[in-house]
Amino acid sequence: MSRRVAFVFTGTAPPEQSATALKLAERLLARGHRVTVFAHERDTTLAAGTDELARAAAGLLRRGVHGGTLDWVVDAAAAERHGVAATQAPGVVPGDHSDLWAFVRHADVVLSVGGGA
């Protein structure tokens, strides 16, 4: 049965945990589950850079957005603060906490990435 899993990137996770979360999201997509991502603060840069994490995020977006099973929203205000509002990978949508609430409300599982850091 397809489940809906929401990842909330809090902006506080070390790179290793962010990478693990992106890989886990990829595995979930591969199994036919629906994945939603909401990125706060520093994690608004995840899909905007050129480093290893950004490449992983871009790959995930290509796979998920084209398959219609991934939604990726960045906190628009945070993206502005971090100077990445105009450089997000294709498929990333600027949003706000109403999007976060919608993701959480509709999710079967919510994973906070970095909350325990």
């Binding site: 290793e16 693990t20 886990l24 595995r27 979930l28 079967d108 599982v109």
Partner: protein, 103 residues
């Protein structure tokens, strides 16, 4: 209720929480990820918390890639700890637990 607890930091804290849940009657699965995977190494400073969780019936697994990054091989794991790959973690998260928490 089956609870999956993913732990990336502060393994001792996560294991103590898992132990408390197990002692309250829940089936608890702990997955040690990222930095927390080091706690699965035999002789680690968090070994007492790990052994206490295992003794309380908590199922403890450690992420194979995280162990490899830290040079921990199968023979160096605390008895009772299993290795797990991300495909298995994905199945656990999506379908194998009633509640999932990531610390």
């Amino acid at each position: 209720m089956t609870v999956a607890l993913l732990v990336s930091h502060t393994a001792a804290q996560g294991l103590a929480l898992a132990r408390a849940w197990a002692e309250s009657g829940d089936d608890v699965v702990v997955v040690l990820l990222d930095g927390a995977a080091a706690a699965a190494r035999d002789g680690h400073a968090d070994a007492p918390a790990l052994r206490a969780a295992l003794a309380a019936g908590v199922a403890v697994s450690a992420h194979d890639d995280a162990l490899r990054r830290r040079g921990v091989t199968g023979g160096g794991l605390t008895d009772g700890v299993k290795t797990i790959d991300l495909d298995e973690v994905a199945d656990l998260v999506a379908e194998g637990a009633d509640k999932v928490v990531w610390l």
